[in-house]
């Protein structure tokens, strides 16, 4: 019950912005690592994904 009470309160503006920027930063890091990082290991692992998503590759 306690959790449902908490979750029924909408995010405050500062919380919303905090969550938003944290999400943007983690998301950008993940997309960079999978799609753009110039590491041979990452490139080879994500090779087909990079092509399929149209990331610049090769």
């Amino acid at each position: 019950m306690a959790t449902s009470t908490v979750s029924s309160i909408p995010l405050s503006l500062s919380d919303r912005l905090t969550a938003g920027f944290v999400a943007l930063m983690i998301g950008a890091f993940l997309v960079f690592g999978a799609g753009l990082a110039n590491s041979a290991v990452l490139h080879d692992t994500a090779h087909d994904t990079r092509h399929a998503y149209g990331f610049p590759c090769h």
């Binding site: 943007l24 998301g27 110039n38 590491s39 590759c57 090769h58």
Partner: protein, 261 residues
């Protein structure tokens, strides 16, 4: 609550990543494998010493462009550089992380990419204050696809292995800048009421294309053009499906588990 919001985005991304892996197997992956049969052959470039040019262009990504981030990530990896660079002898799969199969590597990369795009979408939604719901989820997805795939593809269409292309770092910079400008431009066009905002949004969307994407000097390739055309359409269609699933699933999870009902 913040953690719950982020977790919801990650879960939506992972679900979409699994979906993307299945969707890729239909058209995209077979075309990549088909194109790789042509990749190793020396292209018919009369003004180049045979055998040298393809090796230099095919592998410049791992030889020359070691960015600080890439180097750092490579250092953190459990795979030694010697193992990672085995593929420079010609085997692309030589460096797949943890010795996984090619398919597992693709699945892992799709999960990471899905979670990444999902977090970016959720982040944009939180920052601009427009929640992703079940009702508008498909629109969110469609706009994500426009910003990340269709608009950058005008300058840099999805490439097959073995396609001629300009220097990797230039293309990545142009691609990232185009995604960013397109996203801001789409926000201004779609969600702002002011006429001046809509006009500047269009200008932002057009700007990277007016500047021009980096193009290769030599466009000869051994990969048949038909494969390239099929692949470009298949990749864009598959990513559109991915983004629609991502948007709708994000909206569903937001309504069902995050927002009050």
């Amino acid at each position: 609550m913040i953690v719950k919001t982020l977790l919801a985005a990650i879960v939506a991304g992972l679900i979409s990543g699994v979906f993307m892996t299945a969707a890729q197997e239909l058209r995209v992956t077979p075309l990549i494998l088909h194109a790789e049969e042509f990749e190793g052959e020396a292209p018919a470039a009369p003004n180049q010493p045979s055998g040298q040019q393809p090796a230099a262009t095919d592998h410049q990504h791992s030889l020359n462009d070691a960015s600080p981030f890439g180097t750092m990530l490579a250092t953190l990896s459990p795979i030694t550089p010697a193992y990672a660079h085995e593929h420079e002898g010609g085997h692309e799969e030589g460096g797949v992380m943890f010795g996984m199969s090619r398919f597992s590597g693709t699945l892992l990369a799709n999960l990471v990419t899905g979670a990444g795009f999902s977090l970016l979408l959720a982040g944009v939604s939180l920052v601009i204050g427009y929640p992703i719901t079940l009702q508008n989820g498909a629109l969110w997805g469609a706009f994500g696809w426009l910003a990340v795939h269709l608009l950058p593809a005008i300058g840099l269409p999805p490439e097959l292995p073995g396609f001629p292309a300009a220097e990797l770092g230039d293309r990545q910079t142009w691609w990232a800048a185009t995604v960013l400008l397109s996203a801001v431009g789409l926000y201004l066009v779609a969600l702002r009421r002011e006429v001046i905002a809509k006009i500047s949004g269009l200008a932002l969307i057009a700007a990277p294309h007016a500047y021009g994407a980096p193009q290769p000097l030599d466009i000869s390739s051994n990969v048949p053009a038909v494969l390239g055309a099929e692949f470009a359409v298949a990749a864009l269609a598959t990513t559109l499906a991915f983004w629609l699933v991502l948007g709708v699933v994000s909206g569903f999870i937001n309504e069902r588990f995050v927002k009050p009902g």
